[in-house]
């Protein structure tokens, strides 16, 4: 059974149908890269997976749990413990240090004690290469560092899936690579990743599955190297041409 099973999901904002029957399977250990033009519904799809957004029809099952049923607080909490998310704008908590940002959810949500949370912070900050910045506030960090703290913060909940929504799009070009390297490392460790990205080379080299979205639908899906080498549809061909 796929770890994340998205079936025929539909979603409208008012009169506008943004997801028009989307289906994607994500196996454990997959690195799914979602690409597509702005407005094609990539973020909305991602946000439906952890119920930041609700969908109207279809089903999403994460690790055996139906997202549509996660309406009650306890189920919603279980779902979100299982699904981490990293945002384009980092969204770190500005009043907390890097370590405190990482420790907060384990303490509040998982009732970890201070010692356990500290160990988690040390471990995850080391993983993103920021052990020396544990006591810095977000405003004292570069964009790339902030984003890596955000990744550590998500990892500290030990999610089964990590969702990344254009996590390098807000960064200065010279800071993109340090974040991508961290993500690549996570992929190598076998963490299941679903990422919306404009980094085509990264999608091709690190991705195990490429999803091309177009007008609220999965227009093409397959192994990244194959699709990049030989897009089957004119739309994908055009899209690849436009970003290169």
């Amino acid at each position: 059974m796929p770890l994340v099973d998205i079936k025929d999901v539909r979603k409208s904002f008012g009169p506008v149908e943004v997801l028009r029957g989307v289906s994607v399977d994500v196996e454990r250990g997959d690195v799914v890269a979602i690409i597509g033009k702005s407005g094609s519904g990539k973020s909305t799809l991602l946000r439906c997976i952890n119920r930041l957004e609700t969908y109207d029809e279809g089903s999403i099952v994460v690790d055996g749990m139906n997202v549509g049923d996660a309406r009650k607080e306890k189920k919603l909490r279980d779902l979100r413990r299982n699904v981490g998310m990293v945002f384009q704008q980092f969204n770190l908590f500005p009043h907390l240090t890097a370590a405190e940002n990482v420790m907060l959810a384990p303490k509040v949500v998982n009732k970890a004690n201070n010692h356990e949370a500290k160990l988690l912070a040390e471990e995850t900050l080391a993983k993103v290469g920021l052990s020396d910045k544990a006591n810095n506030y977000p405003s004292q960090l570069s964009g790339g560092q902030q984003q890596r703290v955000a990744i550590a913060r998500a990892l500290a909940m030990r999610p089964n899936v990590l969702l990344c929504d254009e996590i390098t799009s807000a960064l200065d070009p010279e800071l993109v690579n340090e974040v991508l390297r961290v993500v690549e490392q996570l992929a190598r460790e076998g963490i299941t990743l679903i990422l919306v990205t404009h980094e085509m080379r990264f999608a091709r080299d690190v991705g195990t599955k490429l999803v091309f979205m177009h007008l609220g639908k999965v227009h093409e899906v397959g192994p990244p190297k194959e699709l990049f080498a030989a897009p089957r549809t004119a739309e994908l061909q055009q899209f690849i041409g436009s970003v290169h």
Binding site: R77, N91, L92, F93, V109, A154
Partner: protein, 216 residues
Amino acid sequence: MNDFSFWVILSNLLLATRWTIALSLVAFVCGGIVGLALLFARTSGIGWLTLATKAYIEFFQGTPLLIQLFLFFFGVALLGVEVSPWIAASLALTFWTSAFLTEIWRGCVESIPKGQWEASESLAFNYIEQMRYVILPQAFRIAIAPTVGFSVQVIKGTALASIIGFVDLTKAGTMLNNATFRPFLVYSLVALIYFCLCFPLSWYAHRLERQLHAAR
């Protein structure tokens, strides 16, 4: 000019000022606690709770404080419970204060970027936890200045309690005027005392506001 009566007037006014301060403190502290509870209700996103809180706020912001005092003073008596002016004034001012503080604080909460809500939500926080650990600590910083500023309104608002017979600074002024027939002297002193209570607060509020803008 009779020096003796000047000192009698002043000392009586100062004694009554204790009650103005006490009533202000009660209204501000209790109003703050009620206001915080209302803030959670108002921003909870739960339809009926939000609606009920809105109605409460509209009522206390949309009717004169004096009428609210009358309602508490005479209205509660209708239920067969004797209320002293002190109790009625405390209740009315508490609710009135809470309505304004809730609105001030709601503005501060809503100025926190949406990303903070989404990040904490995706980390599996529930609403109370989001408020407690993420939103309020950030909103607090911006709320201090307008909150201190509003405390001035509370102090001035307590003057109305004199009308239902609460012996505060204003009421003492009225009584002393009736006894001495020196309205200008009496009310000048009353005004001066209110000013001494209020000015440091509004000065401090302005300073906080400047600091906050400088920090941005």
